[in-house]
Symmetry: C2
Subunit: 458 residues, 2 copies
């Protein structure tokens, strides 16, 4: 063995690898040090969450958020800042929802609920109807119109606690939230109540998008907290004729024009090769949207700040993109992919942070095998910082539209145990974000972008 | 390659490894599933934190906590439950501390402070004195008696943000909290204020043990929040003669008898070989002690519950130990190591959880290389659950006393970014504990104990 090492050293085989590795690992170390020392990004997150909670695309709150990010970018050293116009739906909650059931003697048990995104309103004086508990989408058919007509369908499914990475558990059940009202309406349901997609037991209702397709009638969809779901299920077990009252006033308005906010650092060597780094600026009406996805936006901006701070001049053009309207219809992402911001742009690489800004555990890559292999060759540079999973899988909703442009995609992957406690609920506040965890993610993103910028994709 | 695989399969070379691995990985999977489905441990943590906050050894609150754990153990299927008597110091805070400085026009800027553990009181009407800012212990000598005498020394050091695993940052500065008053008193200081050992910027003061040795005079030691440390440093920069008022009434009382609470499952094959699993039941006066170390206690108890639930009958004797008095003087740990609970006991293996009950990342082992190597051979069984660091290093304060008994030691290692935000402060509440993260740690502990129990240490 010793002889082999001698030969390798004599031949200088280790030389280029070593010096490159050292330079890269030193730069990565500097990125992490700079990120961990800084409070700038965390203070930006606090501001964003404080001045623009409930910043659903199309709302005034979202406009405030866009102005804030634009102003923050202006104060930095970007070469160009773009406001890319995007027409978006404007759907408003219009005041808090009401839900309760009678517990006898004229007493009501109120339920913590939030309208699902895109839901129609109830009639002005609400809906009062018996409920029917449904555990799977298939049960609707089994029960049929006879059992469902005129009732409120209560989708009372538990999220699967067994997945260690929790996103698949979300994926397993999200369909009931998205299409439950549509499907239930086919059997004559008058509304749907949907158990919140959370792995926690608490009283936060969670919202999220729902969609109407071809159903005979649009019926309201309303999310109900985990604890109140249990309460209602218990009441139903005792009395299958228990009636629930529901009221919501949400409404769709004419579309409005808002913006993707984009900060660009022009590449010194490949100005037309674009590396996109982003999160989405919109968040649900019931939340500060700290983890989803204020934190991801701020991390993306922090990547640029770290480059400025360390005086790194990228060879490719770097774009920090605050995508508009991820939650409702991804109009911002579509506009970004479809309409060149600059003539001649080639979408080379894109990185999204939209899985919560908890502790980073790795990256997920979407692209050709050779690209994934190259990315995986850098794993050892990230392991000292706890990132150890470099997997081929999906990326992020916003950047996924760049795939057809031949763009290689990546997503920051973070520790997922807590994420769905916060997701789409009033519990998603900046207080739930740990500065160091968020900054570790930003530094990891910057490190990956640096490595791609220096070494290419293959 | 295909031929080699055929040969291996034909020869059955994979067979024994595979079946053992399969059985083990299946059991580990069952442990995680059972843990992730259950709310028992989390509800125990909430109860412990709610009925017995501030349960410093020797206090009535600690007695409440011991009774609670004893009662919880009684309701389980342990073979024996022991209350091992331990005499402990009784030191009380005796009401909230006061600290402020004058900001002119008779206005006061109050400072969030907590007495350090074991501190003497100020005189009854407090201390008012000029401060002197000190950044390192060495500076005391440089400044000398001339600059220090009659003043309050303000140890205003920042914790190092660059360590990715944050415990070394704590270690670097904890000496100033522990010995700062002792050292400053040698130069005639009248009290010390110590910047909280936290990586966050907030108004929570953090306490922790301080020690007097041979100094000429015992002077009070008081912890001050990070934000108020900045405020005070700024005031001092503007006016080096700024005076601070301090009052605390803490006091040492005669020692009292309390208990280690121990639940035992007798080993079917090696009843005298003891596997100890534990945390410490005491917590500082200013906190619920959820991460430090109520969570570690509850995780230890959960290991037993998981074994009961999965009907696992250990070959070695398993002891779940709620150690008393880790924070002040480790009297419980010493008593446990020194005084056999049962005749003929041999301390075989010990596992502690006292690094916060955030997401588990691995284990730290303390023992012979052959032991560490054996433990590391199981890494792949844990990787699907995110535990990937199996390192030779320290273990835990309580079990460290078993080392001289030849016991092999291990500690659960958890993601450390958030820990010092909570540690020894009122911020360490059950609300800061995520059920799934805590349960992942408990399942990982149970898995390691299972593997050691079945396969031995070497």
């Amino acid at each position: 063995m010793r002889n082999i090492l001698v030969i390798i050293f004599v031949l200088g085989l280790f030389q280029p690898v070593f010096s490159q590795d050292n330079k890269d690992s030193l730069f990565v170390r500097n990125l992490f040090d700079e990120a961990l020392d800084s409070y700038i990004a965390y203070n930006q997150l606090i501001q964003l969450c404080t001045i623009a909670p409930g910043r659903l695309a199309g709302t005034d709150e979202c406009a405030v958020a866009q102005d804030f990010m634009y102003k923050e970018m202006k104060a930095m050293s970007f070469d160009t800042i773009y406001k890319q116009p995007v027409w978006v739906r404007k759907w408003l909650q219009n005041g808090e929802e009401t839900a309760y059931f009678d517990i006898g003697d004229g007493e009501k048990q109120y339920l913590a609920v939030d309208a699902l995104g895109g839901s129609v309103a109830t009639p002005e004086d609400g809906i009062e109807a018996e409920i029917i508990v449904v555990k799977t989408m298939d049960e609707l058919q089994t029960l049929g119109r006879e059992k469902i007509e005129g009732k409120i369908v209560f989708f009372d499914f538990d999220m699967n606690q067994h997945n260690i990475y929790t996103f698949p558990s979300y994926g397993e059940n999200a369909g009931m939230r998205v299409y439950g009202a549509e499907e239930a309406s086919k059997y004559g349901a008058v509304a749907v109540l949907v158990r919140s997609l959370t792995l926690a037991q608490d009283t936060f209702p969670h919202t999220g998008i729902m969609r109407y397709k071809t159903g005979p009638k649009k019926i309201p969809g309303i999310g109900i907290s985990a604890i109140h779901s249990d309460m209602l299920a218990e009441a139903y077990a005792e009395n299958p004729h228990v009636k629930v009252f529901l009221h919501c006033a949400c409404k769709e308005y004419p579309e409005v024009k808002q913006y993707n906010i984009i900060g660009e650092i022009k590449g010194s060597k490949y100005p037309n090769r674009i590396i996109t780094i982003g999160g989405h600026i919109d968040a649900w009406y019931n939340t500060q949207g700290a983890h989803d996805d204020g934190g991801g936006c701020i991390q993306s901006l922090e990547v640029a700040r770290l480059f400025f701070a360390l005086k790194y001049k990228p060879e490719n053009t770097i774009r920090i993109v605050m995508f508009l309207d991820e939650e409702m219809a991804q109009r911002g992402a579509r506009a970004y992919a479809d309409n060149p911001v600059r003539e001649g742009e080639q979408h080379y690489f894109a990185l999204e942070s939209d899985r919560g800004v908890t502790y980073p555990t790795g990256f997920s890559f979407d692209g050709p095998d050779a690209f994934v292999k190259k990315m995986q060759s850098w794993t050892s540079l990230f392991e000292p910082y706890g990132l150890h999973r470099f997997e081929k899988s999906g990326s992020g909703v916003d950047i996924s539209f760049l795939k057809v442009k031949g763009c290689a995609l990546a997503a920051l992957v973070t520790e997922s145990q807590r994420y769905f406690d916060y997701h789409h609920s009033a519990n998603d506040t900046w207080q739930q974000v740990n500065r160091r965890e968020m900054q570790m993610g930003a530094a990891a993103m910057a490190a990956l972008v640096y490595l791609v910028d220096k070494n290419g994709l293959y």
